[in-house]
């Protein structure tokens, strides 16, 4: 039995410039994996390699045993959905926007939307609390609401693998939690496999069951959150002094930054 997602020795990048190299990752179905690492460590490039936006230089990506590079865009879109930090918003109503998620499933020469597609879109709009906004233009929505519509659209795609590129980094804490809790629910209930690029290390630890830490375009370490998020790893990868404690409720690591002045004042005994 092969694993659900198997990334083998992946390298990809732009022209002669930056690239991500030698990435190996295997995920079981229903994993919630977090990709962490400093800016410019190749997280988004890795996603572009997986989604096919960038051609692979070496390596293979197997999703349920199928090599992604052999699939057409349409076949890929039926298995894989992506939500990025900022989405292109056109002057569409929320309903039209979410319905776009059903595009990969349209039949050839199908002109009108099928009832089934509309029902799926409505279902996810209700889950994301955007149903009440369905006749509003996407442009009129707040950033948080846009992101909820975005995830509704991605979920309407009924993906096997969901890629989230810093989905919550510009959201307030209400929308952040609403968003992540919904993803967690989908992850549990539908065994949806999720890969999420995230900057907030404590959030990553809280929600993800597996972490891949990247540095300079390749894997620095990977494993369970408590294995990856040690202060040695973080200090080495991020060049920043932090303190790692355990969340008393969840038992997951929590990362506290330490300011320069505090360090200067010799507040060493904390560690």
């Amino acid at each position: 039995m092969s694993s659900f997602l198997d990334i083998q020795n992946l390298s990809c990048g732009y022209g002669n410039g930056f690239r991500t190299h030698d990435i190996r990752l295997t995920l079981a179905e229903g994993s919630f994996a977090g990709i962490i690492g400093p800016n410019g460590s190749g997280k988004t490039t890795l996603f572009k390699g997986i989604s096919g936006s960038l051609p692979l230089k070496t390596g293979r990506i197997l999703l349920e045993g199928e090599d992604l590079s052999t699939l057409s865009w349409r076949e890929k879109a039926q298995k894989l959905a992506i939500v990025s930090q900022f989405s292109q918003i056109a002057d569409l109503t929320v309903e039209e926007y979410v319905l776009m998620g059903r595009l990969p499933f349209r039949r050839q020469f199908q002109f009108f939307d099928r009832k089934e597609d509309i029902e799926i879109a409505h279902h996810y709009m209700q889950l994301t609390n955007t149903y009440r906004l369905r006749h509003k233009s996407m442009e009129e929505l707040s950033g948080g609401e846009q992101q909820m519509a975005n995830i509704a659209s991605a979920l309407s795609q009924h993906p096997r693998l969901l890629l989230l590129d810093e989905p919550t980094s510009h959201l307030d804490i209400t929308h952040q939690m609403q968003f992540l809790n919904l993803i967690q629910r989908m992850n549990e209930e539908m065994k949806l496999t999720v890969m999420m690029i995230v900057h907030d290390l404590s959030l990553a630890a809280e929600y993800c069951d597996f972490l891949l830490m990247m540095k300079d375009g390749t894997t620095y370490c990977q494993g369970l959150p408590e294995e990856v998020l040690t202060y040695e790893h973080i200090e080495h990868v991020y060049n920043t002094v932090v303190i790692v404690k355990t969340n008393p409720v969840s038992g997951k690591p929590v990362v506290f930054p330490v300011s320069e002045r505090r360090l200067r004042d010799g507040n060493q005994e904390i560690r």
């Binding site: 349409r74 894989l80 056109a90 998620g101 595009l103 990969p104």
Partner: protein, 339 residues
């Protein structure tokens, strides 16, 4: 969504009604005024003067107005979709520059005296040479870049207009008159084969473009998102670019340069019917047809018995409408921001 389809049906019916109205107006108005009710009777009587006017002048003109107006507007709607830029029209991409250059060359070198068909042919070849050039130059390292294509198109327009001026500066005054007259555009085309061809081509391209409405809808969110929704964005853009070029090249070679139809009409139609390409394409086509037929009626009647170049009318009417529209949308945006 049920109501959506109902709304679309109403738009199409309204536009068809407007088109019929414009066509009747175009058949009836002119030096000899023909009442609408008499048209069927007159068409049966092949001996009358009115039959001659209708069959050989007004019907061909109206048909050509339908085909050219529809084609230009359709091409504009598609290009604005590909480039995700509401200010793009067939002529911004250098296509008209190429066609004008071709025609200028034909007139200056005297080729058009050999056969009447050489003039449109030269326009067509010029348009296609430019399209080919823009297309290959836009193929950067990472594939087709839409922004590059736009910039290169604009630059090539400038180059062709400079070359055209060069040709005009070395030729006789008589030729210059011919060139200027052609550039100003006219629906006065006596060759009935060309008119039939144009009508067939425009309707055919409209039908073909409907195969790409869903990718166009997805492209509203950008090329990358369209790919993630399962469309081969580059392939779609390539085919649509060829279709629009074919349409524009044909229009220019038959009727000269008729500006602003491809820019203003799709823009206004989008504000009215929304951005869904399933309704936008047909609505743009029909509105463009209606608009051009009406402009032609104006061009023929304003200073009758003389005739104004239709490009003058479309330019003024379209340009003014566009500025008014821009002001309106700006105000709306401000309101939305303050709200």
């Amino acid at each position: 969504m049920q109501q959506e389809q109902g709304r679309w049906a109403i738009y199409v019916l309204l536009l068809l009604a407007a088109l019929t109205g414009a066509a009747l107006l175009s058949l009836g108005m002119g030096e000899i005024s023909i009442p609408f009710a008499d048209i069927p009777r007159l068409l049966a009587d092949k001996e009358s003067t009115e039959y001659g006017v209708l069959a050989y002048i007004r019907i061909p003109r109206t048909l050509l107005g339908f085909a050219i107006g529809g084609s230009l507007s359709l091409a504009g709607a598609i290009l604005q979709g590909i480039y995700r830029n509401p200010l793009v029209e067939p002529y911004t991409l250098g296509i008209s520059g190429g066609a004008s250059l071709g025609v200028t060359f034909a007139i200056v070198s005297g080729l058009h005296l050999l056969n009447v068909l050489f003039l449109p042919l030269a326009g067509f070849i010029g348009a296609f040479a430019i399209i080919f050039l823009v297309y290959t130059l836009s193929l950067g390292k990472g594939g087709l870049s839409v922004n590059r294509m736009l910039l290169i198109g604009v630059m090539i327009s400038f180059i062709s207009s400079s070359l055209m001026m060069f040709l005009m500066s070395v030729t006789s005054a008589e030729n210059i008159h011919g060139i200027v007259f052609w550039i100003m555009g006219s629906l006065n085309e006596s060759n009935s084969t060309m008119i039939t061809l144009m009508v067939v081509l425009s309707v055919f391209c409209l039908l073909v473009s409907y195969l790409f409405v869903m990718p166009l809808n997805a492209l509203r969110l950008g090329e990358e998102k369209a790919r993630h929704l399962g469309f081969n964005a580059n392939g779609v853009i390539r085919i649509l670019f060829i279709i629009t070029s074919l349409l524009t090249g044909a229009c220019i070679s038959v009727a000269g340069i008729i500006g602003f139809v491809g820019l203003v009409i799709p823009h206004i139609v989008r504000l009215w019917v929304g951005t869904d390409y399933r309704i936008l394409l047909i609505a743009s086509f029909l509105s463009g047809s209606t608009f051009l037929i009406l402009c032609d009626v104006l061009a023929r009647t304003i200073i009758a018995p003389n005739e104004l170049p239709i490009g003058v009318i479309t330019g003024i009417v379209g340009g003014v409408a566009f500025i008014l529209l821009l002001n309106n949308t700006k105000r709306k945006e401000l309101k939305a921001r303050n709200a």
